[in-house]
Amino acid sequence: MKNIKDNFDNSMLMAIAPASDNSENLDFENLVLYLKAKIGLEVKIKHCKDYDTAMKMLSSGEAQIGWLGGVFANQVIASRYNSIEEFAVGVPMGKNVPFYRSQFIVSSLSQIHTLEDVRNKNIALGDVFSTSGYEVPRRELSEVGIDIKNENSFNSISHVSNHDQAILEVISGKVDVAPVSSVNLELMISNKRINPKEIRIIHQSSNISGAPLVYLRDLDPVLKEKIKSVVLDAHNHVDVSGYGGHLERYVDPLDSHREYIESYLKSQWGWRSILGIVAFLIVYLLIIIDLEIDFSDLLTNSFFYMKDVIGRMLPPDFSNFKSLMTSMLETVEIAMLGTLLAIVLSIPIALLSARNLAPNYLIYLVAKTITIFFRAIPEFIMAMILVIAIGFGAMPGIIALGFHTMGFLAKFYAESIEHVDEGPIQALESMGASKWQVVSFAVVPQIIPSFIGNNLYILDRNIRMATMLGIVGAGGIGYELQSAFRMFQYPRVAAIIIVIFITIFLIDMVSSFIRSKVL
């Protein structure tokens, strides 16, 4: 046993903040006795009546060592108290990490189930310096819009001086709810002071760093080192206790801090994302197996297939060029008329199927259903039916394209209408503009760019579609293409494909030009 009275001559005062009403739960006697036995340090314990007193005693130097509760574990606050330094954090018995949580408890018979329900109820709140009794609850409550500082947030506030009192008030029914430290709660349960069936936890916070033992920064460094090493080693020699009753041991705050940070580590790709990716891969693998797709055959033989087909298509047969061009022109005209029809039909439907402009929900639903219906029926089918009804020619193509693409255009228009900035609409309404005036001035200008963009896109698309529709007899170059195909005139097929390609290419350039000028 070393006697180092040479290094200091006065005994120390230890200031303890009141986290518990039960002296057993805040018992530093064992530790103090051990310190005396090990290094001859005389420590007098003073349980302070509130956190503020304890802090002031340490800040003023009246106490040289102490325990201030969780407030000190908060780095931001700790940095304000330059003169105080943490040196050990207690790990509760049975656990291996020194953190705890703030828990909102209610009687098990209570109607309160979520944190929002806490509003306008009777609550017990602890000292404003209590981390798990006030500070963390303040944060958690503000997340659901309840201001702890505002008295009107609750029906009544019972000010308690420690966690145990709060717990007892909930059980006795004096209050409906209280935020308390999990350390106190668990201790009361294990000491059989309360029956766990009597209470329910409705909300708990994330981990709070354990409350450390502290001492004054400007104590003799040798002494500080001795105190710290003795305390950190104490569990190997005696039963240690502190906040929370019996403790496993005390750990260095740096280690405790490190573990505290580590407790927040989560893997980037959660098991859900990984499961999703694996499921995706499995589904596609099964599809490939089911369709009996043979990649090797595809890779080796496709080259020969292509070579064979191209051989038969060259050189392209451009004879009767005039007829080709007339048909191509007819196709483009069908596309243009079809697109115009789609635009004309889409405007009213879009206005009715935009959530923010539809007069009522029923009309909105009906309009939306119409767009879905026409989008769902492929224009091929529509064209075939119309050919049967009307006969061969351009008309079936125009109608089929018009109605089918109306389904898309109306949807696109409606979406851009729904995304307009509300501000201008409100401004005009507030000045007394009528509904149609608001649409014309606040909505239309905002959607013009997307309107033009969508129309050009649909025109592009319709030209391609119109070439296909010719195949079912709805006019245009598609018909030529199909007959050439049927008669095995592959060079003619090649010529037609080239004409189609060049036409679409040119139209695309024109629409890019228009876009750049207008948008």
């Binding site: 780095q75 931001v76 940095s79 490190r258 940070i261 927040y264 580590l265 980037q268 790709w269």
Partner: protein, 249 residues
């Protein structure tokens, strides 16, 4: 002398003469505030220091090394920046945003797939703790309040333990009470990890409260360079050309 700026001139393509011969130096550990009206050149000056803006004339020295395209990467490794509009990636969590501060030293393949080492993540979590947002580590930043977002921005700026922190109007989009808490945070962090701070502000009261030195910029020139305790209303008035006469004191 951490940063030394000599005769810095910048004229933009549209003819605006943003900087017309700026001379200033910042010592290690100082909290310097650059005060100036809109258009005085504050942002251009700050962004010239870390190379976001290139000046055609003049010289900037960082730790006695002249900044050039070859020395710029080294400077950027030691500098953090906080922006007025936060410049966070909205869809990502606070943690991922703070981790972007470590990208320059991360393995390219891993980081592109958002895979960071445990050590890196712990570093980021510690920074979030320093700004008081540990419990929001996994929340999307666009779900946080303005003040919280700026704190994430600060955590990102300090994760590499920089020598210099540049703050370009960090509180311009925040209300007075939150502005105060953010400036306090910057001040505390500066003390905790030993930083030099150069901060653009247009709020004179914040400048007087938090800075060691105030530099007044007007029309692209330094018209005031004094220790904060020596600054009085006369000086402030000169900076704002009489517009803020009687604003404070």
């Amino acid at each position: 002398m951490l940063v030394e700026i000599k005769e810095l001139r910048k004229t933009f393509d549209n003819g605006t003469k943003a900087l017309q011969g700026v001379n200033l130096s910042v010592n290690e550990g100082e909290f310097v505030v650059i005060l100036g009206a809109s258009g005085s050149g504050k942002t251009t000056l700050l962004r010239s220091i870390n190379g976001l803006v290139n000046c055609e004339q003049g010289e900037i020295k960082f730790c006695d090394n002249i900044i050039s395209p070859s020395t710029l990467p080294a400077l950027r490794k030691k500098t953090g920046m906080v922006f007025q509009d936060f410049n966070l990636i909205n869809n990502l969590s606070s943690l991922n945003n703070v981790l972007t501060g470590l990208l320059d030293s991360s393995n390219t393949l891993m980081s592109v797939l958002y895979l960071f080492t445990k050590e890196q993540k712990k570093q980021a979590l510690s920074c979030l703790e320093m700004v008081g947002l540990l419990d929001k580590a996994y929340s999307r930043v666009d779900k946080l309040s303005g003040g919280q977002q700026q704190r994430v921005g600060i955590a990102r700026a300090i994760i590499k333990n920089p020598t210099l922190l540049l703050a370009d109007e960090p509180v311009a989009s925040l209300d007075p009470k939150i502005s105060d808490s953010i400036m306090t945070l910057l001040w505390n962090i500066r003390r905790q990890i030993g930083l030099t701070v150069i901060c653009n502000l247009h709020q004179v009261d914040l400048a007087l409260k938090y800075s060691d030195r105030i530099i007044g910029l007007s029309g692209g020139r330094v018209i005031l360079d004094a220790k904060t305790k020596d600054v009085d209303e006369e000086y402030i008035r000169k900076i704002y050309d009489g517009h803020s006469a009687g604003l404070f004191f």
